[in-house]
């Protein structure tokens, strides 16, 4: 019986071979050509500046109400990756630029065992640039920033959750499957929106960087980032910010500036506190790309010029946001960034040198930044899926203290990620909130010193 089966198998193999021979004739049958894509504009800075200290990886977390099932998550991931073929890429270096090359690698779900935001891109290594892990009730998506930004990753994450939840709670979805609310064709997902919206052909302008106050501190020995996440009620914070006659983002930004100020040595107060705030450009320019499409604005506050009460900081921050968040200003930023890519001289420099130049440029621009605050905003999910989800969270590998925040339902999660051991800024920030009567629940990752 067994040998009969084997015979059958061999027969089929021979038939297959004969068939390919007939079809191909003397011309070799060609394999599927390898596809490759250029890095989008914002991504170009990431590969040269990635290292153990600053991995350029960010994480989205979704805490479910039940413990995660590994097998179902794996099958959900396999379905999801089919819709985002772009994320199957590996990053490689050419003579002049880096590029993404499609690979046959398949993502594997593992239980979380590494430090948060561990390195994903290693030069000369061919591995996927994202990772899906789980821990108890949490599903984590870690993504290398060159591949996509927060919004892009969120589209992927939502699709993953959609497949996972509809599979895990099959019995609840017998009648009708909910709608997936990410609507983009393959080519729309692949779109390099920077290129599409690039308008001017001006040369690289000289950008003057004002030196900002820089937070210093002792790093942990294995470069781990310290993540402290605070869960609060959206309603409470909204009520609080309305009391100061402002929005949630402005209020928390001002609070962050104030928290930093309280730790500033007096002699450093002549430097302004500058927060870099990434902005999702999809809200300003039509695009549904699953790749990078973000810009960065800078919110500056100079202490010692009059009263430094919270009300005053809020006023300054508010006007800075209003001034920076206009289509013209963002377009200007975007064109400045794109000018690099369109600059003929820059393009023909070999990658080895380009790496060095970009590293220096990055180092210079870092001088002008004190800390970073990224607000992913309200995460919305099809309402049929919402009951299974407890909360969302996001944070970023941190070269300097960073706040990542997002909300889901009534849960606002503010995550502090910091490369430093000290937690004074975090303490100031959360204490100011709790003093205002906000109830906060904290979780954190680093139990060792």
């Amino acid at each position: 019986m067994n040998s009969f089966k084997n015979m059958n198998k061999v027969n089929r193999q021979i038939q297959k071979l004969l068939f390919t021979y007939k079809k191909g004739g003397i011309i070799m049958i060609r394999k599927k050509p390898i596809e490759w894509t250029k890095l989008d504009n914002a991504a170009k800075i990431f590969p040269p500046t990635t290292n153990e200290k600053d991995t350029k990886v960010f994480r989205f977390v979704c805490e479910l109400n039940d413990v995660v099932d590994k097998e179902l998550l794996q099958s959900a991931l396999e379905k999801t990756i089919e819709l985002f073929p772009m994320y199957r890429s590996v990053l490689r270096s050419g003579v002049f630029w880096y590029y993404f090359e499609t690979s046959e690698l398949s993502p594997v779900v593992t239980e979380e065992h590494k430090l948060p935001c561990s390195r994903l891109y290693h030069p000369n290594r061919r591995n996927l640039l994202f990772e899906v892990t789980y821990y108890r009730r949490r599903i984590n998506l870690e993504m290398y920033h060159a591949l996509t930004d927060g919004t892009g990753a969120l589209g992927f994450f939502k699709t993953l959750l959609y497949y996972y939840i509809t599979e895990r709670y099959q019995e609840d979805f017998t009648e009708k499957l909910p709608k997936l609310d990410y609507d983009a064709t393959f080519s729309q997902k692949m779109d390099d929106s920077f290129l599409k919206h690039y308008t001017s052909n001006n040369m690289l302008k000289r950008v003057k960087i004002t030196k900002a106050y820089r937070i210093t501190g002792r790093r942990s020995i294995d470069n781990r980032i310290k993540v402290i996440e605070g869960v609060m009620s959206v309603k409470d914070i909204l009520a609080l910010s309305h009391r100061y006659d402002t929005t949630l983002t402005v209020y928390l930004t001002a609070l962050f500036i104030k928290a930093i100020y309280q730790e500033m040595p007096v002699r450093s107060r002549r430097y302004p506190v500058v927060l870099s705030v990434p902005v999702n450009l999809r809200t300003y320019f039509p695009s549904v790309t699953a790749r990078n499409f973000f810009g960065t604005i800078y919110i500056k506050y100079q202490f010692g010029k009059g009263n430094d009460e919270l009300e005053n900081i809020i006023e300054v921050v508010k006007s800075a946001f209003a001034q920076e968040l206009t289509e013209e200003r963002l377009l200007e930023h975007m064109n400045q960034l794109s000018a690099l890519e369109h600059n003929a001289f820059m393009r023909v420099i070999p990658l080895v040198l380009k790496d060095k130049i970009l590293r220096i440029a990055n180092g210079l621009s870092n001088r002008g930044i004190t800390a970073t605050l990224s607000n992913v905003g309200k995460i919305s999910l099809t309402k049929e899926l919402s009951p299974y989800i407890h909360m969302f969270n996001c944070f970023f590998s941190a070269r300097r203290p960073q706040i990542g925040m997002c909300s889901f339902g009534d849960q606002l999660v503010v995550s502090f990620a910091s490369p430093y051991i000290g937690t004074d800024i975090q303490k100031n920030f959360f204490r100011m909130l709790s003093k205002e009567g906000i109830s906060i629940t904290l979780s954190y990752n680093s139990k060792e010193v």
Binding site: P33, I34, G94, L115, I228, G230, F430, S434, L442, Y444
Partner: protein, 229 residues
């Protein structure tokens, strides 16, 4: 579910915050927490600190190299004052390290490592030949041999390690083109022994021809990809 969660959280009275999981102290102020805590509510797994350090093998190698250099200088100084042979020991060890550093840095890409070694060994051998009175052995033997050996090693390594043709093409191409360098030596008549160079050029020509005929399209797309400006 809710009830259990609430009874097992910890609270910091200084910061007025609730802390999830089981903790010794408050993450913000380091103060003592009230309450029991619940291991089940931990949001992150515990990852022990890993101390990154050089591999012990590398340490031993560094130790041996330095001792050898120092000892050879000492022996040179005591016994054979008239010759300077210890410099060659030092230079040899230096060359070994240069080569080793490149291997370690590029270790994740084997064909790339091989091509780098070809270039490196060629340059170092010419330098050696030059510094100990030019006899021409570097261009007579070393360069042609290493080019051919690299091609063979790449072909075998690709088979054993299952490296796809596409990942190999560019390196075979570079090595193939490099293999034509001995033509210059032949034309200018710099060589005292010609046959290794002739073999090298022949093998390179066959290699390039095979690449173009069998992998021409792949080679073109591979070049497009790597050379895009």
């Amino acid at each position: 579910m809710r009830g259990r969660e609430e009874s097992l959280v910890q609270y910091c009275e200084n910061c007025n915050v609730t802390v999830k999981g089981s903790n010794l102290v408050c993450p913000l102020c380091g103060g003592i927490l009230q309450g029991q805590g619940n291991q089940e509510e931990e949001a992150f797994p515990h990852v022990p600190t890993i101390y990154q350090e050089f591999h012990i093998f590398i340490r031993i190698l560094i130790m041996i190299s330095f001792s050898m250099v120092v000892i050879s200088f000492a022996i040179n100084a005591i016994l054979t004052k008239e010759s300077r042979w210890s410099f060659f020991v030092a230079a040899g060890i230096l060359c070994m390290w240069i080569s080793l550093i490149f291997i370690i840095r590029k270790r994740n890409n084997i064909p790339k490592t091989i091509v780098w070694q070809v270039v490196l060994i060629s340059i170092l051998s010419v330098l050696w030949d030059y510094s100990i009175g030019w006899r021409g052995w570097s261009i007579d033997y070393v360069i042609p041999t290493i080019c051919v050996v690299a091609m063979i090693v790449m072909a075998i390594a690709a088979k054993i390690l299952k490296i796809g043709v596409r990942n190999l093409i560019i390196y075979l191409l570079v090595d193939g083109i490099f293999g034509f360098v001995p033509i210059i030596f032949l034309l200018f008549g710099w060589l005292s022994v010609g046959y290794p160079s002739v073999i090298c050029v022949t093998v390179s020509a066959i290699n390039l021809l095979a690449l173009i005929i069998f992998e021409g399209e792949n080679m073109k797309s591979e070049l497009d990809k790597r050379m895009h400006i």
